[in-house]
């Protein structure tokens, strides 16, 4: 599937963060060459070097944008990083547009390239935006674990959190979802009056357990479900989804499990 390829799943490494090196590195070099050209007079060559470096960086940035968009679609709609991701995308598109204009203007006056402060200003603004945006991109990975362990998961991850309330419950049993609508290895993320619960289907059975890993609190609803275990996407801690016991570290503390019942084709949890 094209999306899996754009997300780099066959390589076990997301594609977007591998591609972004190129626009980031090249566009920064382009700006430095522009500045160097101003510091040393008679350096027409440096302006041209800045132009080509910018052209390569912009093309590479457009490619990175495609892979980045594929990654964006898989972030849960109510994940705090979704907003960061949207900002990151809008900033990058703005920077790409600025460099596009920059290149267009420069290409129309090859002999005069760099003589106008407008060009330098456009490059400065573009690189400034990229630095901010790159910081946000890094925060998504290192703070929120976006993209980490995603390739090990073979079913789609939850696109949103299902909210259920005790008011709809009978004796604490709250209806969540159609049991038949869940495929094997699939998960749901549920907010039951503030308790965040992951629900997984395996071998025809449905299990409910806490959403957060007990190591660094990675999202278990995005983990791999296999052999009645859930593997945290971040650091591969594994828990038995029937008992909640730790099977494999780094986690040391067992996770909570919740009771599940199937009534008239609906999943209930308590």
């Amino acid at each position: 599937m094209l999306k899996a390829l754009l997300q780099g799943k066959p390589f076990g490494h997301p594609l977007h963060p591998a591609l972004v090196h190129f626009p980031i590195g090249l566009l920064i070099l382009s700006l430095l060459l522009d500045i160097a050209a101003r510091l040393w007079t008679d350096q027409e060559g440096l302006y041209q070097a800045a132009f080509y470096t910018m052209a390569f960086g912009t093309v590479a940035g457009a490619l990175a944008a495609i892979a980045g968009f594929a990654d964006w679609t898989d972030i849960r709609r109510d994940h705090p990083a979704k907003k960061t991701a949207t900002t990151h995308m809008l900033l990058n598109l703005t920077a790409l547009a600025l460099f596009g204009i920059n290149l267009f203007l420069r290409s129309r006056q090859p002999g005069l390239a760099g003589t106008s402060l407008v060009y330098l200003g456009l490059s400065l603004a573009g690189v400034g935006i990229i630095l901010v945006s790159g910081y946000l991109g890094g925060k998504m990975v290192y703070e929120d674990g976006i993209g980490a362990g995603r390739h090990r998961r073979h079913t789609p991850t939850p696109t949103e959190t299902i909210r259920v309330s005790g008011r709809d419950a009978q004796e604490g049993w709250a209806p969540v979802y159609d049991a038949e609508a869940m495929k094997d290895g699939e998960t749901l993320r549920v907010d039951y009056d503030g308790k965040i619960i992951a629900i997984a289907k395996q071998g025809g059975e449905v299990y409910a357990f806490q959403e957060f890993c007990t190591h660094r609190y990675g999202p278990l609803s995005e983990g791999k479900i296999c052999d009645h275990q859930v593997e945290c996407p971040w650091h591969r801690s594994r828990f038995d989804i029937r008992s909640g016991k730790v099977v494999e570290g780094p986690a040391k503390v067992d996770m909570k499990t919740y009771k599940v019942a199937i009534r008239e084709g609906k999943i209930f949890i308590r």
Binding site: H21, Y52, F56, E143, Y217, P233, V253
Partner: protein, 173 residues
């Protein structure tokens, strides 16, 4: 010092931010080298490749200590420790190759129209090793979670606590 190199002050690890520059510029130097071989006799691409290699070398000098600081936090029995060791060995090799590459170019970068076969060869070898090494570095993050939630574990701990999760006692991290 280790905290500084690991990027705690920036709330973002430093090493992966710095590596963009050499990772982009050294393979780009190879592309410019190849273009120079097909070029029109103009010195431009030789000059760009020279600046790309030079700027890459300078930023890599900063990337090396930050990467080493990150690596010291990985426990030896973890698979990522070995990946990190290979990653570091490859990167140090690549740095030396690119330094030699720059040395070969010092004389003629403002006059020559074409990169020599030796220069192109060094660029190609370095780029190849860099792709392998960059892949290993990426695997450390995306497959083994190195640096993931290291600086944000307090935030996630609070979120997990609010979400009713069992969590380890305060000092059990």
């Amino acid at each position: 010092m280790i905290d500084f190199l690991q990027g705690k002050w920036l709330k973002h690890p430093l090493h992966p931010a710095l590596v963009h520059v050499p990772t982009a510029l050294w393979p780009a130097a190879l592309v410019f080298d190849v273009l120079s071989r097909f070029g029109n006799g103009n010195n431009l691409f030789v000059q760009i490749a020279f600046y790309a290699i030079l700027f890459g070398l300078l930023v890599a000098l900063l990337a090396i200590p930050t990467g080493y600081a990150d690596w010291t936090d990985i426990r030896r029995e973890k698979p990522a420790w070995k990946l990190g060791l290979y990653h570091m060995g490859l990167n140090l090799t690549i740095w030396v190759l690119e330094a030699a590459n720059l040395g070969l170019r010092r004389q003629g970068f403002q006059t020559e129209a074409m990169a020599t076969p030796a220069q192109v060869g060094l660029s190609a070898l370095a780029a190849l090793l860099l792709i392998v090494s960059g892949y290993l570095g990426g695997r450390m993050i995306y497959a083994y979670g190195i640096n993931v939630a290291r600086l944000s574990k307090k935030k996630w701990r609070e979120i997990a606590k609010e979400g009713g999760a069992a969590i380890p006692p305060e000092k059990g991290e």
